[in-house]
Amino acid sequence: MATVHDEIDNWLAADLYGELSDEEQRQLHTHLVDCVACRKTHQETKTMNKILEETLARKKPDPAFEQRMLAVFRNRIPERSGLVKMLADLMRVRAVQITAVAAILLALVQMGRMITGESATPSHNRAAYAGEQLVQQASQVAASEPGRAGSLNKSDELAAGQSKDLALARPQPAPATRSELAREAKVGPSTVAPAKAAQADANEPQAFAMSPEGVAAAEQAAQGPAETPAPEVANRKLIRNAIVQLEIVSFDDAVQKITAFANEEHGYVATTNSEKQANGKLRGQVVVKVLPQNLDRFLQKIRGLGELKNQTLGTEDVTKAYFDTDARLKNARVMEQRLIDMVKTKTGKVSDLLQVEKELGRVREEIEKMQGELKYWDSQVQFATVTISLVEKDMEEPAAFLLKERSQLALYAPDVEKIYNDIKALASQKVQITNAQLNRDSSGRISATMSMLIAPEESEAVIGRTKGFGRVENFQTQTERIAQGGSGMSENAKTKHDKVELNITISREEQEQALQQTSLRIRTSSVDEKTKEVRSLAEKQGGRVRSSYSLVDLHIGGSTGPWEASLFASCL
């Protein structure tokens, strides 16, 4: 196992980034106490980290970064509008893709026939052949076992499955199957099966339809064949539900309107939930229950609330399961009655009686379960469930842009106080001083910080003048464009300049600029004495010594006095 010492770099980095466990931390610190080399590395790593933190902090993206990325993205990928978007959305659904391909192929086949003048025979066209076969299969099943809805349903599923795989057969057999079954339904009105098959068949496009037009068309298709066998309609148990995604301006408004619409259609809002997103917009879900016959009208209404993003409409036929359960329930009731009778007559052994009691309990439990199931279905059938997802829209077009400019100026000057007052004197209607501070630190050094707001038209002149007051050490300007009343880019929005913020720091110039520099080399027998002499001379002349040092060469003389001295002084 590698020791701490061998992998000290990894350990130190992990320590720095808070990735060491308590135990690991203890190990590291124990080692650092023992090892001088690693201690040194530890010091250096800490300094390195500080430098990285400071340097990289300045490279981070500015606060408007995400907004800019979004704006560029929207610019480069414009949102598709209306029909194109709808078609693209539609094409994402597999069933629609298949149907579209099938339709195109069929059209091609038809054209081919028209050109060659051939009549269609199953052997000429695999698709047509397969379709015909399916029709036969389906009608055979329907004819031979009209009472068994299950098997017919299965064959229809089979047909649907095969047609998906073949991608060709679907459009052809569909109408054939439907009309066949509709006829069948008239022949045997006492069975539920044909109507159900027709329904299942018609449901398929409906379940996948996503566009408003598609839904309407599917709706008609569903009603068409389903209405033919009139007596069964009333008994059919259909669960209808819809999922709608809307982009709206205001969440609360939308919820209010949805509630109003629900009341109009004799429905009610079941649940509402919402959450605030990072961008401050709300997103949430409203579940509404409406009477199934009012569902379409309700959907039409809520579509007007905002931009429809997505819509799924589904119908689940629970007729078979419902009546199966219903029949089983009746049987169970009969069973219950018989068991009760057995208990009442009280013949036989006690153990038999106990057996009967036990059985009675089981049957009753089953009855309750089935009753609950039927009740649930009833409630589901009674009301259609509409789940509406709402997302608040980002306002695309900002009303205006505000251009904010912020400048930092660092000035160095010999007389801080004078400049401080000079700058203060600049104050006028267009130049507003928001902060002015004159500081004196413990060593008596004076510095000042000032902030001002300048009217945009004056900013250049004022900043220029301020710069002239001293030596500019550093000047930075930051300009930010802030969108108002929206986000993103807009061609039409006006750009307004905000007041320019100027922050000034004034520090005392430590090193006055020398007008003239003279260097003098003096050869002397006593360096020490001469140094003192020059020192006092400088002081007498109103100057001061800025630095001095002396060199001693021990090898040559071995004496204690300095051999060479340098003096740097300045005077008026």
């Binding site: 992998e7 770099d9 990894n10 350990w11 130190l12 980095a13 992990a14 720095l16 980034y17 808070g18 990735e19 590395t41 010091q43 250096e44 790593t45 300094t47 390195m48 980290n49 430098i51 990285l52 933190e53 400071e54 340097t55 990289l56 902090a57 300045r58 490279k59 981070k60 993206p61 970064f65 995400e66 800019r68 990325m69 979004l70 560029v72 993205f73 480069r76 990928i77 949102e79 693209a88 959305d89 994402r92 982009e247 997103q277 990072a278 961008n279 993003k309 997505n310 997302v391 980002d394 050490e473 550093n474 000047f475 930075q476």
Partner: protein
């Protein structure tokens, strides 16, 4: 990853523009950190983020598993940044681009040294460093973002820091 996050990625992959824009809001900075790490230049890095987002939108159907969406985004940004880095003109210099920042002489000297020291590191190490310093991500998140195996980052960041430390040793001594 919680369910709502997963759902958001799923919606984005399925073309929900709102969900995708949300991803832009939440992930742009991560992508920038990766791109900046590799390129060491803000303008170029920003371009890389923009290109990556556009590419991600166009290719979004390629992602099968919504959980992999963030890592996939990062991969696009990494590749794009790598391409930009390779295609740089030979006379390209850091200073010609970064003129907007005015610094005092000492810090810019340090900047310069750090910049050249960083340039000697492998791209992956640089990206890991910037993710750590820009976004303050923990090791686990960085590993997920850069598609590294569990535990690999410890060695990477250790070596990266050691290399920087050795190169900047003289400067470090003076700042102490």
């Amino acid at each position: 990853m919680d369910a709502s996050e997963r759902e958001q990625y799923r919606a984005a992959i399925h073309g929900d523009r709102g969900a995708f824009e949300m991803v832009i809001r939440t992930h742009s900075r991560t992508l920038f950190a990766i791109a900046y790490g590799i390129l060491q230049n803000r303008e170029e890095a920003e371009d890389v983020v923009q290109d990556s987002l556009v590419k991600a939108w166009k290719m979004r159907w390629r992602v099968r598993d919504p959980e992999k969406f963030p890592a996939w985004l990062s991969m696009i940004a990494r590749h794009r940044a790598h391409d930009v880095f390779r295609k740089r003109r030979p006379d390209f210099t850091h200073e010609t681009i970064e003129t907007t920042e005015v610094n005092t002489p000492e810090t810019s000297a340090m900047d310069q040294q750090l910049h050249s020291a960083l340039a000697t590191l492998p791209e992956l190490h640089r990206a890991a460093l910037t993710l750590r310093y820009f976004e303050e991500m923990d090791y686990r998140t960085i590993e997920n973002t850069l598609g590294l195996t569990n535990g690999a980052l410890r060695g990477i960041l250790g070596r990266a820091l050691a290399s920087l430390r050795k190169q900047l040793r003289p400067a470090l001594a003076s700042t102490d």
